[in-house]
């Protein structure tokens, strides 16, 4: 697995990103710990529905606090100045990942409206054409794949497995 530092090619910025993730997780965990403490206990048992989450969040808060302290000691002072520029460079290098996630988000959002077949065809043809090398063969393959996995898969599920994929409104 490549670390954030290796991916960006920058030392320290990955540690800052992880530090931010520890802080965000700590804030969420502390909030959920408080919410768990308000869940009433049952008269039928020693532990209530909130006890196990409190145990988990308690352990998580301890670990995250330790990680934050460790990170603050480890990160060199000059790394903070480079952080914003490194994040922008990382985002640019990984632009296709953002395209994939944006496409996926849009795809699942419109599926209930226009149905599985149309949304899948549009998603596949857009993403395949975006990612494929710009050759005639690749474009024909992309079109065939989009047709097979939208119309074909819908037919297979409906006729063979009796599972009906969303039809749209």
């Amino acid at each position: 697995m490549t670390t954030a530092d290796e991916q960006t090619g920058t030392g320290g910025s990955g540690d800052i990103a992880r530090l931010l993730s520890y802080v965000a997780l700590l804030a969420a965990s502390a909030g959920l710990f408080l919410e768990a403490s308000t869940i009433p206990t049952s008269r039928f048992e020693v532990l209530g529905a909130g006890a196990f989450p409190m145990l988990v969040h308690g352990a998580l808060i301890l670990l995250l606090t330790g990680s934050i302290i460790g990170s603050l000691r480890k990160i060199p002072a000059d790394a903070y100045g480079r952080f914003a520029a490194d994040v922008v460079a990382w985002g640019k290098a990984k632009r296709l990942v953002f395209v994939v996630f944006a496409g996926l988000g849009l795809y699942v959002a419109v599926m209930p409206v226009i149905g599985y077949t149309s949304s899948t065809f549009l998603f596949l043809i857009t993403l395949l054409v975006t990612l494929a090398p710009k050759t005639r063969t690749a474009l024909v393959v992309a079109l065939v794949l989009a047709l097979v996995f939208s119309f074909g898969l819908n037919w297979l599920f409906a006729e063979v497995f009796n599972v009906f994929l969303p039809r749209g409104n």
Partner: protein
């Protein structure tokens, strides 16, 4: 002997063998697609068995089961996406091995290890079903809770670069598992007023989102490689079946130990393959002379994980046959199929329907042979997946993940969850958090909570976790696994400092 021959004559009939072959193929294909689990494949098979004889029906379902455990290996090795939760540990070494240019070897190792694991577990099943079943039911909620703590600490210490982040990931998994109604009293928790969260997060959607979506997104990180039509595996694929079989058999200790771990854990109701593959992998790493090679594509890791998870198929049948307690969701469906045919499962099963029980044993062995034959014949076909360019694989598998997630519950909201969890998974991966502990946390969280609360409902004395010998043993093992991981990190740091000083 008469009962065995009667069972054998039914299982070895041409029509049963043909149906079992179809079942094995269906199981392998279903589990190879991310999002389609062995459980789903068996559920889809169940209605087809209603018109069959009881033993024929069970034999077909067992072939789907055995095929499915192996099928999970295919996407784990080629795409780094575990087809089923029981092949999580397979991704640790089979995937790096594939990426190092040896996908054929990774798959063959897994297939042979699965085959031998199933055969060993069947042998143990025949000999040890009654005594193991009695031992398994003696374990109380204290031991189950301790087992899960042990399983989580193992996986957190096994994967990734940092034990701390491994433990954080495992706890995030447990946090995700607490969303929705609590498993004991049904009280709503942490749903934030969203209907989507009220029923909790289905662990299969989380599994697909965390592993599959994040892995697929990682595949498109290199813009130039994608645009030039780079394949998943760029080197030539070599496929040497028989030399790999020898390679597996040259590791008898690892193979037998992992299979016995699989049988033992499979025999515990509620545990199963998802824990067995990790424990087997962990034990293989500890016993290895070169533990540092684990996670980089070592054959020992693939053998341990696949032998371990396949052996749970036989182990899971032990409590089912001897006591009528299903060890996993799949065993529960097998039990349901027997009940549909008017056969009551329990201690009297082996007395009243000995031919059926012996037939099941034989069906397990035949299924594993069929799985092996199907895999050896079709492996070259599966390996073609690695030759498909990334630009085609990524969108197609994304659609398969979406369809698989929808088909689980027929809920569109699961798709929103899939996309959100996928994004979370990618972010965590980019920040160097290991993902396997998180998914294990989600799967094991409800079991841990149920057993913790059940233990304290039975007796509110916390010290029982430490005074019951097996529970204590498991908790000590959990502490040792964390201690061992810390010691390994300190040792490697010391080594790195020495190298730096000497240079």
């Amino acid at each position: 002997m008469d009962a065995f021959l009667l069972g054998a004559s039914q299982v070895l009939s041409l029509s049963t063998l043909a149906m079992m072959l179809l079942g094995a193929i269906a199981g392998i294909i279903a589990a190879a697609i991310p999002g389609f689990t062995v459980t789903m494949a068996i559920v889809l098979t169940l209605p087809l068995t209603f018109t069959m004889d009881p033993l024929q029906g069970i034999a077909v379902m067992l072939s789907v089961y055995v095929g499915g455990y192996t099928g999970g290996l295919i996407s784990a090795a080629l795409l780094g996406i575990p087809g089923t939760p029981s092949s999580v540990a397979t991704t640790f070494d089979a995937f790096p091995m594939s990426r190092n240019g040896e996908p054929g070897r990774a798959l063959s190792l897994g297939v042979w290890a699965s085959f031998f694991g199933t055969i060993i577990s069947t042998a143990v099943l025949i000999v040890a079903a009654p005594p193991l079943a009695i031992f398994a039911v003696r374990l109380g909620p204290w031991e189950y809770f301790s087992l899960i703590v042990f399983a989580l600490t193992i996986v957190a210490s096994l994967v990734g670069h940092s034990l701390q982040r491994g433990l954080i990931a495992a706890l995030i998994g447990l946090v995700i598992a607490t969303i929705g109604t609590d498993p004991m009293m049904g009280r709503p928790r942490f749903d934030m007023g969203f209907e989507l969260l009220a029923a909790g997060l289905p662990f299969l959607v989380v599994l697909i989102g965390i592993f599959a979506i994040s892995q697929l997104a990682s595949e498109v990180e290199d813009v130039n490689a994608i645009k030039t039509g780079e394949r998943l595996v760029t080197s030539d694929i070599e496929f040497r079946t028989w030399s790999v079989m020898r390679e597996v058999l040259m590791r008898p200790v690892n193979l037998i130990r992992s299979s016995l771990i699989g049988v033992g854990i499979g025999a515990l109701p509620g545990a199963g393959g998802s824990i067995a593959n990790l424990v087997a992998y962990d034990q293989a790493r500890r016993s290895s002379k070169t533990p540092e090679k684990f996670g980089t594509g070592t054959p020992d890791g693939v053998v341990a994980s696949e032998a371990g998870n396949s052996a749970t198929a036989g182990g899971g049948l032990i409590p089912l046959i001897a006591l009528g307690i299903p060890g996993s969701a799949v065993d529960a469906i097998l039990m349901a199929s027997l009940m549909v045919h008017g056969i009551s499962v329990g201690p009297r099963l082996i007395l009243d329907n000995a031919d059926l029980v012996y037939g099941m044993f034989l069906a397990m062995a035949v299924s594993s042979l069929m799985m092996l034959a199907v895999c050896l014949v079709s492996m070259r076909l599966f390996l073609r997946v690695a030759e498909v360019p990334k630009w085609a694989v990524v969108p197609i598998v994304l659609v398969c993940c979406v369809v698989g997630s929808f088909a689980l519950n027929n809920r569109v909201t699961d798709l929103y969850l899939l996309a959100a969890v996928g994004l979370l998974g990618y972010a965590l991966k980019a920040l160097d958090y290991p993902l396997a502990p998180l998914v294990l946390g989600v799967i094991l969280g409800p079991i841990a909570e149920t057993n913790l609360r059940r233990a304290l409902m039975t007796d509110n004395d916390w010290t029982l976790f430490l005074t019951r010998p097996i529970s204590l043993l498991l908790l000590v093992a959990a502490v040792l696994s964390v201690g061992w991981a810390i010691w390994t990190v300190l040792k490697s740091r010391k080594h790195a400092t020495k190298l730096k000083d000497s240079s």
